[in-house]
């Protein structure tokens, strides 16, 4: 399916969509059309001679144009509930009208909820009241409706996708590790860290584009060797060349999270409601700038109360179905993925090198 075809990638200005565009562009016989909501999001994919198209999934007019001449779609765009649900519905409808022959939808393991356990694709979906997972459940339901209408949709449920440009699992953790003191306790980080290197997810998407067995099906996509959070953070810390972590006591860690909660909430409120005034203070008064930078660093490195449950969650997401039906085999070990991520962090100035 992928060979000799034009493939629209939505969300190509983002972390996963950007990598999807880079790899598919460089694969033989594929013509990529990179869909971006804002032109300013095109700096990364603009490095390649890729066809870049305006593609706002909340604007059906832009979709008809972006889908013109397209054979397949990889849907990576994500946003708030409106974008994730109504935007996906718009895209599915436009794809069906454009007679697209394959539609790969990127969902998430968050559709299973937040409980411990083993979650294969047969497990029920669980609304949790969290925007991201709940919206993704509804987007998957929209996909199911279009499967019934004859659109060849495949759904992938990736785990924690990390690697270059991953804000959540690469950049933020690297920044926290480089901002001592370390404020997490060893006992709180014994949960499973279901790491998936971004290139393995792209490989799974390519299989979902190519294999007929993918149509109408849902697949977990996970990495080869889920470590614990302690193992991941220690390995990332070592790869960054930092001294060994000195974990906090559990009591101190939880106390710091509780103490910082009102500060975090106040900062969020102020940024949302007085952003311009804060920026003016930052620009004009060196003392205000220093204080804000200190507050930002402190907020970023302090755990949130909700984080403890997440980091201690023992959950696994078997990939037997993707292995047997698609031939999916994740290639990037945690060590390889971290090595590539750290090389990327260094190149982009996220690893402090003393010039500061």
């Amino acid at each position: 399916m992928a060979s000799g075809r034009r493939i629209l990638i939505t969300g190509a200005g983002g972390f996963i969509g950007g990598r999807m565009a880079e790899i598919l562009h460089r694969a033989d016989g594929v013509e990529v059309r990179a869909g971006v909501r804002r032109w300013s999001g095109a700096a990364r994919i603009g490095r390649f001679p890729i066809d870049i198209a305006h593609c706002d999934i909340l604007q059906p007019d832009s979709l008809a144009k972006a889908l013109d001449g397209v054979d397949a779609v990889v849907h990576c765009a994500v946003g708030d509930r409106e974008v994730t649900v109504r935007g996906t519905e718009n895209l599915l409808e436009a794809a069906q009208r454009a007679r697209v022959r394959r539609f790969v939808h990127l969902s998430t393991i968050d559709v299973y909820g937040q409980a411990d356990g083993v979650f294969d694709e047969a497990q029920p979906l669980a609304y949790t009241g969290r925007d991201y997972g709940d919206a993704k459940i509804d987007a998957e339901k929209a996909c199911a409706r279009y499967v019934e209408r004859g659109l060849a949709v495949a759904v992938l449920r990736p785990t924690l996708v990390y690697g270059p440009f991953s804000a959540s699992w690469t950049i933020e953790w690297a920044q926290r590790l480089q901002s001592p003191p370390w404020l997490l306790a060893e006992e709180d980080c014994r949960g499973t860290c279901n790491l998936l290197y971004v290139d393995d997810l792209v490989a799974a998407a390519r299989l979902a584009l190519e294999r007929d067995e993918a149509v109408g099906e849902i697949f977990n996509v996970n990495g080869p060797e889920p470590p614990s959070w302690n193992e991941y953070l220690a390995a990332l810390n070592a790869a960054l060349g930092l001294p060994p972590l000195r974990p906090q006591s559990r009591a101190a860690s939880h106390a710091s999270a509780r103490l910082m909660a009102p500060v975090r909430a106040s900062a969020k409120f102020l940024l949302a409601h007085c952003g311009d005034a804060i920026k003016a203070l930052y620009d004009r008064y060196p003392l205000a700038k220093s204080a804000m930078r200190f507050a930002e660093r402190t907020i970023k490195k302090t755990p949130t109360p909700g984080e403890f449950g997440f980091l201690s969650r023992k959950a696994s997401f078997p990939i037997n179905k993707a292995q047997s039906r698609l031939g999916y085999a994740p290639k990037f070990s945690m060590a390889e993925g971290i090595a590539l991520s750290v090389a990327w962090l260094r190149h982009h100035g996220y690893q402090r090198d003393g010039f500061e």
Binding site: R26, I45, G46, R47, P164, A203, R284, S341, G349, E356
Partner: protein, 342 residues
């Protein structure tokens, strides 16, 4: 010296996008005599007419050629790949130009503009905002006076995720100039570092991350009289955004957006923060100064802050970079792409 009008000039603002609204237009509106005859030009006539109505400007045109015989000066703020044809038309018709940076996409085109301006006896000015920062000017004066002794090393890093509210894809890929962060941000920084060095440096090495499109990260190594200058630019991540200048008798360092202070260290390790006498309160003040200067250039024949001639050396360096570009080693980009082809 450019000729003087000895009367309030008629000016057209050609290109009314984000930079014009933020910088040039507020500067022009401060001059009532200029405002009375100001013309806005942009192909997006409807949006521009709304802007004109908000600012009390009577005249709006879609095509700058309609007004060339009625104006004395033009502020050219169209997309960079159009700077050359628009500025050339203006200069050939005897209209002085204040052009946004980069003056042109390469030094040959820029030299043509400089020659045309000389032939027409009109001014060609360029917006190189960083040369207006009081801190940068004071550093230039200190270096020229030999305050650090012989210079040995300069490092300058500037990067932010690209957030410019571009309204078209002309910035990226082959649809615009095909040139990225080096021409965009580098037009400021290569010019500034060359100005600090007091002469045109030689290019030692240039690397970027283009795979046939517009580069988003670029690194230059320059040499000038025994001083090595390293510049790193990025559209993809926030860099430390600092500079450091080292000499035999001390160093100077600062933050790239800190326009009225820097830190000076003597060779025995003592340091002090230097605050400039001038302390602009916001970025818009540089727009005011730039336009004030351009109005003076037109009305009384003053010299522009930065002329077209001044930026030719930095554009020549940028040309040399593109001619000798190497690609960074980027193993994370190769890992799976290699497998995909294999």
């Amino acid at each position: 010296m450019p000729r003087a009008l000895h009367r309030p000039p008629a000016i057209a603002l050609i290109g009314c996008g984000a930079i014009s609204e933020a910088l040039h237009l507020p500067g022009l509106l401060r001059h009532p005599e200029v405002r009375a005859r100001l013309v806005l030009v942009d192909p997006a006539v409807e949006r521009t007419a709304e802007l004109a109505a908000r600012c009390g400007i009577a005249e709006v045109h879609a095509d700058y050629r309609e007004v060339l015989d009625r104006i004395d000066g033009a502020v050219v703020a169209v997309p960079p790949h159009l700077h050359h044809p628009v500025a050339l038309d203006c200069l050939e018709r005897g209209v002085a130009v204040l052009c946004e940076k980069p003056l042109c996409e390469d030094a040959r085109l820029a030299a043509e503009l400089v020659e045309t301006a000389e032939r027409s006896d009109v001014a060609l000015a360029v917006n190189q905002t960083r040369r207006l920062f009081p801190a940068n000017r004071e550093i230039r004066a200190l270096l020229a006076a030999g305050a650090l002794g012989r210079l040995t090393r300069i490092r300058y890093e500037m990067g932010e995720p690209f957030e410019w509210p571009a309204v078209s894809d002309s910035y990226f890929g082959a649809k615009g100039s095909g040139k990225g962060v080096l021409l965009d941000t580098g037009a400021h920084i290569v010019d500034l570092v060359s100005w600090w060095l007091g002469g045109k440096p030689e290019l030692a090495r240039y690397r970027d991350d283009s795979f046939g499109g517009t580069e988003a990260v670029a690194a230059l190594e320059l040499e000038h009289e025994g001083c090595r200058a390293s510049i790193r630019l990025s559209w993809l991540s926030k860099l430390p955004n600092r500079y450091r200048i080292e000499g035999e008798r001390g160093s100077i360092e600062g933050e790239v957006y800190e326009w009225s202070s820097f830190v000076r260290r003597s060779s025995d390790g003592r340091s002090r923060r230097v605050r400039t006498a001038e302390r602009p309160r916001g970025f818009e003040e540089f727009g005011h100064r730039l336009i004030d200067n351009f109005v003076e250039v037109l009305a009384s024949g003053a010299e522009p802050f930065v002329s077209g001639c001044d930026v030719l050396p930095s554009l020549e360096i940028i040309d040399a970079c593109y001619a000798r570009r190497e690609r960074f080693e980027l193993p994370w980009l190769e890992a799976e792409a290699g497998a995909a082809r294999g």
